[in-house]
Symmetry: C2
């Protein structure tokens, strides 16, 4: 396991570096500011944040590698008996909030956990995924996103994409709104059944696919003209992102429960958010189509998209 752990850490650091340098090039207006931090309970990380760019209103790409006693219950869905174990966790987590409401918000996370009890290795597992949150969606963009997700999963079995796509729809679900957070993508957790090498290979497939999923959508939509109406709708819809991350998200909960660095955990939150009581879109409007056609689980690659 030690060799494996080092290789995962190296992959994750490299992924953070590749993504941030690519995004700086794509943004063309601002650079990431990097903050290295130490965690009092053990370990640390590096948060990179880009603000007020040409493309991105805010983007945060964090690497963390922390360890300690007392694995929080939020860390594992399937192994409740490990709550309280000694643990080591490493991951890359990213959320991008573009200015243009025609460019979706997106999120990627890839992570590796090791739990120990009584000084013995008890378990290890991988988790992660990526998902897309459009404001004014285009079906062709969503199909492209899901094709990239499917292709990343394909070498690991034809059942992998549908399973992790469904899990993503179930996970990024705002129960109190009866809405998905966006149009989904992939979500997986507690992955160890394939053995270390193959599971790690899958993690890399997901991490490496992310930019290929997101950047073509950015290029297609970043110059779409928009006005105050689209901006206000974007600010309003961002309230769902804040609600999801603060109420439901296990990464956020895990971070806050495990004494993580609050600024790094909360850099996923949108830079500006509108909450409005009982707002509803005009029937038949583009805003209404987001709700009716996109914020529910759909089979994006069923027919035309395949």
């Amino acid at each position: 396991m030690h060799t494996g752990k080092t290789a995962v850490a190296e992959y994750l650091r490299g992924l953070q570096q590749r993504i941030t340098s690519t995004l700086e090039g794509v943004d063309g207006g601002a650079r990431f500011r990097a903050d290295a931090w130490q965690r009092p309970g053990g370990g640390g990380g590096e948060s990179r944040v880009l603000r007020d760019g040409r493309l991105l209103e805010q983007g945060g790409v964090g690497y963390s590698h922390v360890m300690g006693q007392g694995l929080p219950p939020s860390a594992t869905l399937e192994r409740p008996e490990l709550a309280g174990a000694g643990f080591e966790a490493m991951g890359v987590s990213l959320v991008l909030h573009p200015w243009n409401p025609y460019v979706p918000t997106t999120h990627l996370n890839v992570r590796f956990f090791i739990a120990e009890k009584d000084g013995q290795p008890a378990a290890w597992w991988f988790g992660g995924g990526f998902d897309l949150t459009p404001y004014y969606p285009f079906a062709e963009d969503v199909r492209h996103w899901h094709r990239v997700a499917r292709d990343a999963c394909a070498p690991f079995g034809a059942d992998v994409y549908p399973r992790y796509k469904d899990w993503c729809d179930r996970y990024f679900h705002l129960k109190h709104r009866g809405e998905t957070r966006g149009v989904g993508g992939l979500f997986f957790d507690d992955l160890s059944a394939w053995g270390f090498e193959r599971s790690f290979e899958f993690l890399r497939a997901v991490g490496d696919a992310f930019l290929a999923g997101y950047l073509p959508i950015v290029e297609r939509r970043r110059d779409t003209p928009y006005g105050e109406r689209e901006r206000q709708f974007q600010l309003y819809r961002r309230c769902r992102y804040a609600e999801f991350n603060l109420v439901y998200d296990r990464g956020t909960t895990f971070g806050l429960q495990s004494g993580g660095r609050a600024e790094s955990i909360l850099m996923s939150l949108p830079p500006l958010v509108r909450f409005e009581y009982d707002w509803h879109p005009e029937p038949g409007s583009p805003e209404a189509r987001l709700y009716s056609d996109y914020l529910r689980p759909r089979d994006w690659l069923g027919e035309a998209g395949a």
Copy 2:
């Protein structure tokens, strides 16, 4: 208990009415919109929201009276054995978000719970309180606020104000920030030890004191000139309100857990919020003084304030 329950419901409806009509007069620019709603699981309520007033950017004053099976664990701190019981809950809850950053945000809640097991009345209790969240605070305002709180508690014993003031400081605490939400006030829960009549009298004392605490501060500060700097700081500090309500607040958690009406529960959230990575005030600035002098528990009535 049935007579008591009706009297509490009448008091709460009357309190909502008194507060909203007074606030409309004080605001002078907008009226509350009232929405009656039914809860599928049983009961309902009426939400009143004022937006874009002269004083208030948003104010929400909600009345709810709901009942059902399966009391959520968030409903009672001291009676975990009642989780899952049949329950009836009624309350008034308000949050006011003014435009002017020199006028504090404020919150009031008064509530009454009844739990039943096996068809038998198992327990009843009162809870509630009020607290104040300034952006650019004035010590005299905070002392006035706490004097009103202390005077409301005084007829119930000299130990009541210090006890519920401390509870308020502990409850409205953002653990991940190491900050209180504001300058506190009163918080109490699971109150039944005084018997029904006296406990209900205390609830009324708290509910009736609220406007006497808040309105003099409004009148002193509402015409204070401010600019973009103060507005931006207000928008930034509102992120703490959103974080507290979505991560920690038991009223929000109870509402969402018990299948409450999401729009009514979330109308406490600020209308516009800025999240900013790792922002810190300039040392020595008015913004820094909020953190150093106000966002930690203090004895406001110790010497000069008494």
